[in-house]
């Protein structure tokens, strides 16, 4: 095992077996072992949802011989949660390179998730071949102008799904574009600053590692509209590993892939699927559960793996 893999492994091994709850208090994240039934005991207004990301169905390689199978295992895990998630967010890269039939396979598998609804944003793998035509034909309905971005409210929390992979050719990073940014400004303008905000998009809305394209060039403008809010959680995918960052009232969190891990930023010559033994990889692919408990924990983010 080389240094990079070993470090990644040790980092992720911390989550093995038991889930870790991240609670935000005074802008500082702290972790502790999760009592998985905690959310189930919650009071009125409590809810949880699940983030699934980077399912990459259609990928086949040493890093994962069958991405559909690991997605199914993650779904089984979600269905075994003590609290049924109110809904699921899929933060993109459903397919690997828009492989023929992959969208159908994902849709079929996700029908098995025990939840009310699944919300989607695209990843670059879902749109790069046809500029988003197939993705938007499937998931554009009900989004703003059929362009894939949207917002909704659930039990007092305002959710915003942003698309940052359709203007992707510039400098090799995500981009939201003026039209979407203007919509976002108007969308959150009427909200009270005490409204909890959850933003989800594929490419991180913070500069994780621009050299690998792991950033969104105009994210700062989006965040400028959000900084007045007391609790903002930004959930992203794309980088296939858990990273967190806190900036004032804004907490950034990236999710694991359900298919394969990628190296830590700058720890390898290039990003991409990590070829590591299956048992080890299972500790680095998984799903994120997010719980909201009014008055107590603004947002508790639990990452669990297949190991």
């Amino acid at each position: 095992m080389d240094r990079m893999n070993r470090r990644g492994f040790l980092e992720c091994a911390a989550w093995t077996g038991a889930a870790v709850v991240w609670t935000a208090s005074g802008g500082v994240l702290s972790s502790r072992l999760a009592a998985r039934a905690e959310a189930a005991e919650g009071e009125a207004g409590t809810f949880s949802f699940v983030q699934i990301s980077d399912t990459h169905v259609g990928f086949k390689g040493q890093a994962n011989p069958d991405a559909a199978a690991t997605l199914q295992q993650v779904i089984d895990r979600v269905n075994a949660l003590p609290t049924r998630p109110a809904f699921v967010l899929h933060t993109g890269d459903q397919t690997h390179g828009q492989k023929a039939g992959a969208f159908d396979t994902v849709a079929e598998l996700l029908k098995g998730v025990k939840t009310e609804r699944i919300f989607y944003v695209p990843g670059e793998h879902d749109v790069f071949l046809d500029g988003g035509k197939e993705y938007l034909a499937r998931y554009g309905k009900g989004t703003v102008g059929g362009q894939g971005w949207q917002s909704f409210d659930y039990k007092g929390t305002h959710f915003v799904g942003l698309v940052n992979v359709l203007k992707y050719k510039g400098e090799g990073m995500g981009s939201l574009g003026t039209e979407q940014l203007e919509w976002l400004e108007k969308d959150v303008a009427p909200l009270s600053s005490s409204t909890p905000i959850v933003v989800f998009s594929h490419v991180p809305l913070w500069a994780v590692y621009p050299q690998w394209g792991w950033t969104t060039e105009d994210a700062e403008r989006a965040l400028a509209y959000l900084r007045r809010f007391g609790s903002v959680s930004v959930l992203n995918g794309h980088i296939h590993q858990v990273l967190r960052k806190v900036e004032g009232s804004v907490t950034f969190h990236t999710a694991m892939s359900t298919a394969f891990p990628q190296p830590a930023p700058g720890s390898a010559p290039a990003p991409g699927p990590m070829k590591i033994p299956e048992a080890e990889a299972r500790r680095m692919i998984g799903v994120t559960e997010v719980s909201y408990v009014p008055g107590k924990h603004p947002l508790a983010v639990v990452d669990s793996t297949l190991a």
């Binding site: 990928f59 086949k60 390689g61 040493q62 890093a63 690997h96 390179g97 828009q98 492989k99 670059e124 793998h125 790069f128 071949l129 992707y168 050719k169 510039g170 400098e171 090799g172 990073m173 050299q211 690998w212 394209g213 010559p269 290039a270 990003p271 991409g272 699927p273 070829k275």
Partner: protein
């Protein structure tokens, strides 16, 4: 019928031009470019007009070979997939990977 004759004559003319060109230019073996560790290597190649360039993806990750001006594009290339493009006009052809646009390179055609 006249139309057909015209077509045949045209085709013969094209063949003649092509043959002349082959004799005159003596094209080198097809130029090959490897896609490895999220890089096109070599990042710039120079080929003669009419020559072919073949890219091979050595990564597990999918990549594309996509012209910056839309002149050509591969689909998603899986591991060990190849893509070949014949360049028939001189110029500088900048291209990138549509999935990882930080991957950039150029084919110069003379």
């Amino acid at each position: 019928m006249l139309k057909h004759i015209g077509l045949v004559a045209g085709a013969v003319a094209v063949l003649l031009v092509a043959a002349t060109h082959v004799i005159a230019a003596r094209p080198a073996a097809p130029t090959t470019i490897d896609i490895k560790e999220f890089k096109f290597g070599p990042p710039e190649v120079t080929v003669a007009v009419g020559n072919r360039v073949t890219w091979t993806n050595r990564d597990e990750e999918t990549h594309t070979v996509t012209s910056a001006t839309g002149a050509f594009s591969s689909t998603g290339l899986s591991h060990d997939d190849t893509f070949t493009q014949t360049f028939t006009r001189p110029g500088r052809y900048a291209y990138f990977c549509a999935l990882h646009p930080q991957m950039r390179a150029t084919v110069v055609v003379r």
